[in-house]
Symmetry: C2
DNA sequence: GGGTAACTTGACATCATGTCAAGTGATGCG
DNA sequence: CGCATCACTTGACATGATGTCAAGTTACCC
């Protein structure tokens, strides 16, 4: 909070006139970023795809390429989720939105009859959602040194292998 | 530290006579748990398997079933990794050991010629290691309400789908 | 009897978050 | 013009966790 106040050329206490808590500030920041980065437009491509598999790949690309933009604030929210229920709820809610995107892609696969045998839609969504987690992006990009392009391509392949019944 | 001291029927300051820092205590705890739970024996089964795919499944089972035992202390170490370099290093070292297990399973697949086409051993190891992360276990077990058995079976399938070239 | 090891007690430093009270300065309105 | 209001500042303070330090106490062994 001190650092942010300094950067905003405001006193530390002045910051609390705008954001009552650290969590509130971070949440406001994610909302602002969503506006600036136009998340809706990003996800439009994945919704437009007719083909289930194309849609899956498009969603991986759209969300996968959005992660780096919110990663900083996401990290902060995840870190304080242990001690701050407000932060935990805010982050969980955002991740729930991602889950809906995952569920939609899974539903498209199901509609087309290419969802892997013996995999319920819900189970598939859980799995896909987990694959697309910010933590996994972190580990592959920062822990393993993958490029962003590597990450996207490999996750597209992985998601397909995990969810699609191969002929 | 207060709570631990209380549980150990010792004064808070007395604890520091045994463990200089919180991180040191947690690291000692993981080492002690490894001994008590006999990690080596657990992993032996996965090393013995002749067949690459069997070995993969055995490793997923062994590590997957070990995660719940170290999850508490792992959580604590991960949480403080942001602010405490000592804790970060300790946890990273332990995860590196898991990575070696992953690499060995991948090597077995490669030896048998069933590693997916166009996937280098290193890339495959990165991927497998990421799939088997404690965070993913957390999300599936606690976030999605999967049972431990669900988790193991599904991860075995997923690992196979991700790494093995299907005939 | 004396020394040592393990532990206790109480006090204190630091650091981040958050709160509160008492100001200050610019802006706009009647 | 005068005055109220809003955004902000300053300084002080509470809380809670991690560590540190000095001065004991207790038990045990040689």
């Amino acid at each position: 909070m001190s650092d942010i106040a300094k950067a905003a050329k405001i006193s530390r206490q002045g910051l609390y006139l705008h954001f009552a808590t650290r969590a509130e500030l971070l949440v406001a920041l994610t909302r602002w970023m969503d506006e600036v980065n136009d998340v809706d437009r990003r996800l439009a491509a994945s919704r437009q795809a007719r083909d289930g598999e194309t849609r899956l790949a498009a969603f991986v690309e759209a969300w996968g390429n959005y992660i780096p933009m919110i990663h900083g604030v996401g990290r902060a929210l995840m870190a304080m989720s242990d001690s701050d229920a407000e932060a935990a709820a805010a982050w969980a809610e955002r991740m729930q939105a991602v889950r809906h995107g995952c569920a939609a892609a899974v539903a498209a696969l199901k509609d087309q009859g290419v969802l892997r045998d013996g995999l319920s839609e819900e189970r598939a969504t859980d799995l896909f959602w987990t694959l697309m987690s910010v933590r996994n992006w972190e580990q592959l990009r920062q822990g393993c040194g993958w490029t962003q392009a590597d990450y996207v391509v490999e996750m597209q392949r992985l998601a397909r292998a995990a969810l699609v019944e191969l002929p």
